[in-house]
């Protein structure tokens, strides 16, 4: 998914294009670019978020232009691969959203004709195609070029010679905004609502020419299309959130699908393809920061249980400065954005030490992917809420996949065990959906406890990291002081903090630590502190110990962190909402930490 904007009018195009582009950032944010027509054609591109483009670009004068923000699905998010693309003579600039499926054939033909390419992308082909078809009229050239391509697209093209934007769509969204003495173009109405509320929707196969005061639409056959603008009457924020009050809640609800995506093509039962040949290693070390560190802690339990390899977990900024040991571990680096500076530095350090490195990342082609030997993508899609939700659960899914891979290659796990694991993994989206179906129960309970100042989270074994993550979520978005402990550590100190005013959330699923957890819950209730327990459905025992019980569907204990954390995400979300906190943008926290 990418975002396109275009402008033709009387004002300076540059600030308007950037402002509109910002509102499309949800469509992707790994590189961006702008082209403005003034005295000649000016193009500027940058890797990274749109703010990076803003910081690096010179002032461009001109009243016509296009811009693009990219979410790479193929090809790295580098400055070279950012849009717009120019033709050989640098007279044309093209932005594109979609895929040209026959681009290899076209490219070969164009190269034979003498065209010179500067990138590996399919989009550049279109720039050269238009160039070769251009005989004066840009719109006709675009129409001729479109006849030669196969695929899905939304294109916008500007030329150094004209004060016009020509655009086309087929199966990728594009909308025209009608202003006074100016006209706009965008992938989505939300980008334009600040400037106009009159929109014309383009249909598949149509081409449009925008100038300062005209909009000409032609259909596939070249017939002129008359279409009245529609007035849009909705609020910008709502549109982007799809009816949910916050991005975080929307993203929590996207998790069954995100897990499905991250499993896609990776869970064949009969002839699995490994992510990579692991080679020889005697241990695994997982390196990460923040929420990713918690996914790493869960990964330790998963890898140790499935692959029987000793695994340690370290914070990135600590690993960097740790001393070299005699071990030769496989280093697993976990980062959602792939841009977390401490983790990138840790990857470099690991390679310097001669270790094999694997990154678990969400953003295609991000910085970390160039620093490691292998990458496992989590495929959670863009996440806007600062609090990580779907990117965390898919990191845990990646841990199952990696552990299964390690276990299969080292022959710790046989084909039959793998088949049964895969069956369980395929069930995970259902277990998460079940939690979401019961969100109202969590909501009601969160309301009851939203007034507290402190909250403690306890768990054992694989759910100890979930206690930490639950506490992190709670503190970062609801500003309640939250702390997580391994339940067995309670009596070694934290019990001193516990009082009637500080509820304890206890994860007590039926695994080999269950009896111990019941004991810990009793320790807490004995001190008068209310206990909210998370257990398996059908557990009749738990209610006798805890004040409140939230249930998740019974899954094998190794998979329990997934439904448990979704419950805790809902818990922290509803706490924050009840307290009126800015859920999606908590104070002092940035989504991606690119500083040391």
């Amino acid at each position: 998914m990418c975002g396109i904007v275009g402008y033709a009018g009387g004002r300076d195009a540059q600030p308007i294009l950037i402002d509109c582009l910002r509102r499309l950032e949800y469509r992707g944010y790994d590189s961006s670019g702008i082209a403005v027509v003034g005295d000649g054609l000016h193009v500027h591109k940058s890797k990274g978020e749109i703010s990076a483009l803003e910081e690096t670009m010179p002032t461009m004068h001109g009243h016509v232009g296009i811009a693009h923000t990219r979410w790479a699905t193929q090809g790295k998010p580098t400055t070279e691969n950012a849009h717009p693309f120019a033709d050989c003579s640098s007279k044309l600039a093209v932005v594109h959203n979609g895929i040209i499926s026959n681009f290899m054939d076209l490219k070969d033909a164009l190269v034979a004709e003498g065209h010179v390419f500067s990138s590996e992308t399919d989009t550049e082909v279109f720039a050269h195609l238009v160039e070769s078809e251009l005989k004066g009229d840009l719109m006709e050239a675009v129409r001729a070029a479109l006849k030669r391509i196969e695929g899905t697209y939304a294109f916008a093209v500007v030329s150094a010679d004209g004060a016009e934007v020509v655009a086309a769509r087929d199966e990728s969204p594009l909308v025209i905004g009608i202003g006074d003495g100016e006209n706009f173009l965008a992938s989505d109405v939300t980008a334009l609502l600040k400037y106009t509320d009159r929109m014309v929707y383009m249909m598949d196969g149509e081409v449009v020419r925008l100038t300062k005061d005209s909009v000409t639409i032609l259909d596939r056959e070249g017939k002129k299309v008359e279409r009245q603008p529609q007035k849009i009457s909705w609020n910008l924020e709502d549109a982007e959130k799809g009816g949910y009050p916050h991005f975080m809640l929307k993203e929590i609800f996207e998790q069954p699908n995100a897990i499905h995506e991250s499993l896609l093509g990776r869970v064949e039962t009969l002839d699995p393809e490994p992510f990579f040949q692991t080679g020889a290693f005697t241990s695994v070390k997982i390196v990460a920061c923040g929420t990713s560190y918690h996914a790493g802690l869960a990964g330790k339990y998963i890898i140790e249980e499935l692959a029987k390899v000793p695994t340690t977990v370290q914070i990135s900024s600590e690993y960097r400065y740790s001393s070299v040991s005699r071990e030769n571990p496989l280093i697993v680096l976990v980062t959602q954005s792939g841009e977390t500076l401490d983790t990138i530095a840790a990857a470099r350090e690991a390679r310097k030490r001669g270790h094999k490195t694997v990154a678990i990342a969400n953003v295609m082609g991000s910085a970390i992917t160039r620093e490691v030997d292998h990458v496992i993508y989590t495929r959670a899609g863009p996440e806007i809420g600062v609090a990580a939700t779907k990117t965390f659960t898919t990191q845990i899914v990646a841990m199952y996949l990696l552990a299964m891979d390690l276990a299969t290659q080292s022959r710790v796990m046989g084909a039959q065990a793998r088949r049964s694991m895969v069956g369980q993994l395929r069930n995970l989206p259902r277990a998460v959906q079940d939690v979401l179906n019961k969100a109202d129960v969590v909501e009601a309970l969160a309301k009851k406890y939203s007034g507290v100042k402190d909250m403690y989270f306890i768990g054992r074994n694989i759910n100890y990291p979930m206690a930490l993550e639950g506490a992190l979520k709670t503190k970062e978005i609801s500003y309640i002081h939250g702390e997580g402990f391994p339940a067995g550590e309670l009596k070694h100190g934290p019990l001193a903090l516990i009082s009637k005013e500080s509820p304890v959330v206890a994860i007590a699923i039926k695994d080999h630590t269950y009896e111990k957890m019941l004991g810990n819950i009793s320790e807490v209730t004995a001190r008068g502190s209310p206990v909210i327990a998370i257990g398996y459905e059908g557990d009749t025992e738990l209610g006798k110990y805890a004040d409140e019980v939230l249930t998740v569907r019974e899954v094998p204990p190794i998979f329990s962190p997934v439904p448990v954390i979704v419950t805790l995400q809902l818990w922290s979300y509803y706490l924050a909402r009840e307290r009126g906190c800015p859920v999606d943008k908590p104070r002092n926290i940035a989504k991606t930490v690119t500083v040391e």
Binding site: P173, D188, Q230, I232, W234, A239, G242, Q433
Partner: protein, 396 residues
């Protein structure tokens, strides 16, 4: 023109398939029923849509979001208590003005039916069809080109022309709704009947597609109809000696193993693993991440996402909800049967079983035709299911 889609109800008669999602989200040809409705509107360039949601509204909202993926702009209003469709429409009162379309979200309509409604230019107007079984619906009598009277679910034969639930209405309807609600009547056909006193309502006939899914077996008919017009896309990995005949749509990363034979129309979602030597016959839809093991035959059925069917099974004329799992040798055949829904019995010409989400079958289970198995049941190996099972039943 704006359109209001009424999508707040549960669809109780489709239980247990509505255990975690409303009727409108049940997938037909692998797309929710509601998506077919939105699609029919968008194809007619009706893009401003108000959706009245209620029961499991998140399911709808997370699927459609603001509608941009579907070429529409969707606003939501919440009907907190599902009292009736007139009450549902009234919750959208503030979001519409002038003339607007009203559509039920749980009927399959095609582009043609919507276009007939719009092109007629009659407002207020009601889309009507002839029905072989009018007594289930609101029946109208027509005089001099306008609707004279509406009779809800008549016992005696009044006429064979029924209301489809698709209307073109204006703000006047809200007054009629208020009047009806005051009398404790929450149905939209009541409100239309009341409005006849103020303003005539034109009947609009259409040759377009309109199918209502009231009972689970209707879903199979809907499924087959929707698959007739589906675009065929073939992704995934097809091993050698796989036979694909007729329209067969296969999602990405799906694996079809050797010797598997599929006669379309059949639609298969993403990430499935099917075969070796599985036979799939028309008109079958299979969701995402479904596993079907060797020597199994599936015929005219709906298997929703995350189902898994063991080897040597036979599944015919069945609807399996999300995540239904079966070990080998499941026998779920179809035949003429009496089906018990609520406190009524229906004679259905050809029906298999209806199974709610996340139900598990052991090895060698036999499910008799016409049985409705609830959600989350566990049926042990060798058991024979001969009557309906409530949700979460354990059969040993």
């Amino acid at each position: 023109m704006k359109a209001v889609i009424l999508a707040a109800g549960e669809g109780m008669r489709l239980r247990p398939l509505t255990a975690s999602e409303p009727k409108v989200m049940i997938p037909v040809a692998n797309r929710p029923i509601l998506e077919h409705v939105v699609d029919a509107l968008v194809k007619n360039d009706v893009r401003d849509i108000v959706m009245v949601v209620g029961y499991h509204k998140e399911r709808i909202m997370s699927h459609f979001e603001d509608g941009r993926k579907f070429g529409a702009r969707i606003e939501y209003v919440v009907q907190e208590k599902q009292l009736g469709n007139a009450h549902a429409l009234a919750t959208a009162k503030e979001r519409v003005s002038g003339e607007f379309l009203v559509l039920p979200g749980d009927n399959i309509v095609d582009r043609r039916a919507v276009s007939d409604l719009i092109q007629s230019g009659a407002c207020p107007g009601a889309l009507v069809v002839e029905s072989e079984n009018p007594s289930k619906y609101g029946v109208v009598t027509i005089e001099q080109g306008t609707i004279r009277n509406v009779v809800e679910k008549p016992v005696d034969m009044v006429s064979n022309i029924i209301l489809t639930g698709l209307y073109c209405l204006n703000e006047g309807i809200f007054k009629s709704i208020d009047k009806c609600v005051a009398l404790g009547e929450y149905g939209l056909s009541n409100a239309v009947q009341t409005s006849l006193e103020q303003e005539p309502v034109k009947p609009i006939f259409s040759d377009g597609l309109w199918i209502d899914a009231v009972y689970p077996w209707d879903l199979l008919e809907l499924n087959a109809a929707a698959m007739e017009s589906m675009p065929v896309r073939t992704g995934g990995k097809v091993e050698q000696q796989v036979v694909l005949s007729g329209p067969v749509s296969i999602g990405e990363e799906t694996v079809l193993r050797a010797g598997t034979t599929i006669y379309g129309p059949v639609v298969i979602g993403a990430g499935c693993e099917i075969g070796p030597n599985v036979t799939i016959l028309p008109s079958t839809s299979i969701g995402n991440s479904v596993t079907i093991e060797p020597y199994t035959t599936v015929k005219n059925s709906m298997l929703m996402s995350n189902c898994s069917i063991g080897a040597h099974s036979y599944v015919s004329h069945c609807v399996f909800g999300y995540g239904v799992k079966s070990q080998s040798h499941l026998m779920a055949g179809g035949a003429e049967a009496y089906v018990n829904i609520g406190d009524e019995f229906f004679k259905v010409p050809h029906i298999g079983s209806i199974v709610g989400e996340d139900t598990n079958f052991g090895t060698g289970v036999v499910v008799e035709p016409g049985t409705v198995v609830g959600a989350g049941c566990k049926v042990s190996s060798g058991a024979k299911v001969t009557r309906n099972l409530p949700n979460k039943t354990l059969v040993t």
